[in-house]
């Protein structure tokens, strides 16, 4: 099979196609499972030549931000008495940013979390905190997979397909 040497490897077309198909299948599964919603596509559409790493940059910001917020929530829940208003404010922030990037499951967990803050349910808040923590970790893992697949496609000389 022909190989081209140089800065970008042009792998055989069928390999690029295969990588692209795997990518589309994986991304589709994330939508199907409800991990991501249409807002994620909006995010991807903002990436272009003038902003080539936009999606990864925003995802990175999200995880730095969510880690900080989750730590704040945990600390607030450990204090006595618990400042539920403060916890709620942090959950509201996380709900906002998860909604903006299309992280649907995280967003929905935040909605439930807020209702427990409202009723000042300590147990409910603890459970939600753990769920949010888990879900963010799952999201991070899946997005890292996704971005790695994007890099593979580009490295093979192909372009990343956009979902419509």
């Amino acid at each position: 099979m022909p190989r081209f040497h140089g800065q970008s490897n042009h792998a055989p077309v069928d390999i690029v196609n295969q990588l692209q198909k795997q990518y589309v299948d994986y991304l589709s599964s994330l939508f199907h499972e409800g991990v991501l919603d249409d807002q994620f596509t909006q995010l991807q559409k903002l990436q272009d030549e003038s902003n080539p790493d936009f999606t990864v940059e925003v995802a990175t910001l999200f995880f730095v931000d969510s880690d900080k917020l989750i730590n704040n929530m945990a600390a607030a829940l450990e204090r006595s008495p618990v400042d539920f208003k403060q916890v709620d404010a942090d959950v509201h922030q996380l709900k906002g940013s998860s909604s903006s990037i299309g992280a649907m499951r995280v967003k929905n967990l935040c909605i439930t979390f807020r209702s427990f803050c409202e009723t000042q349910s300590y147990e409910g808040c603890l459970i939600c905190l753990q769920q949010v923590k888990n879900e963010c970790a799952v999201l991070k893992d899946k997005l890292q997979n996704l971005f790695r697949m994007e890099q593979q496609i580009v490295g093979a000389g192909g372009s990343v397909p956009l979902m419509d």
Binding site: Q39, Q42, L43, K45, L46, S50, N51, F54, E57, V58, L61, F62, D65, A89, H92, Q93, K95, G96, S97, S99, S100, I101, G102
Partner: protein
């Protein structure tokens, strides 16, 4: 109204970093020049009006340097609604359209903002189509 050519200058105000990055990219994608501010105080500083004075402190410009202000409603310190009031209360800035965005669909909130002079109220998360619509609606759409 100042002539801004084809690239209106928008001031986007939001305390959430992810949202700021998103709105900035959405606006740039719609051929806008963007300045972001992380809260109402910074926004007012940028616009040249002081929070603690009824009028302007030292303003050399006679026209506003921005053509549109987009602000989040829920912000600590000064809310988007309070920022709106300050802008509308300024002789230099009162003609600048202000758009309020919020993740919560609360009719009393919406009506309050519109009554205070907000041009539009939009729900988050914003999409590219929202921003394009906004741009055409509020400013002379050249295309």
């Amino acid at each position: 109204m100042a002539d801004y050519g084809d690239e209106p200058h928008v001031l986007a105000v939001d305390d959430n970093l992810v949202d700021r990055k998103m709105i900035e990219a959405l606006l740039k994608n719609s051929s806008c020049r963007v300045t972001t501010a992380e809260n109402g105080m910074r926004a007012l500083e940028y616009l040249g009006i002081r929070d603690d004075q009824p009028g302007e402190s030292s303003v050399s410009a006679t026209t506003s340097k921005v053509n549109l202000i987009i602000t989040d409603y829920c912000m600590p310190g000064m809310t988007g609604f309070e920022l709106l009031k300050k802008v509308k209360g300024s002789s230099i800035l009162k003609e600048v359209p202000v758009v309020i965005v919020s993740s919560e669909n609360v009719p009393t909130r919406i009506n309050k903002c519109l009554a205070e002079g907000a041009q539009m109220f939009m729900l988050k998360p914003l999409k590219a189509s929202d921003v394009k619509k906004l741009r055409c609606h509020l400013m002379n759409c050249r295309t």
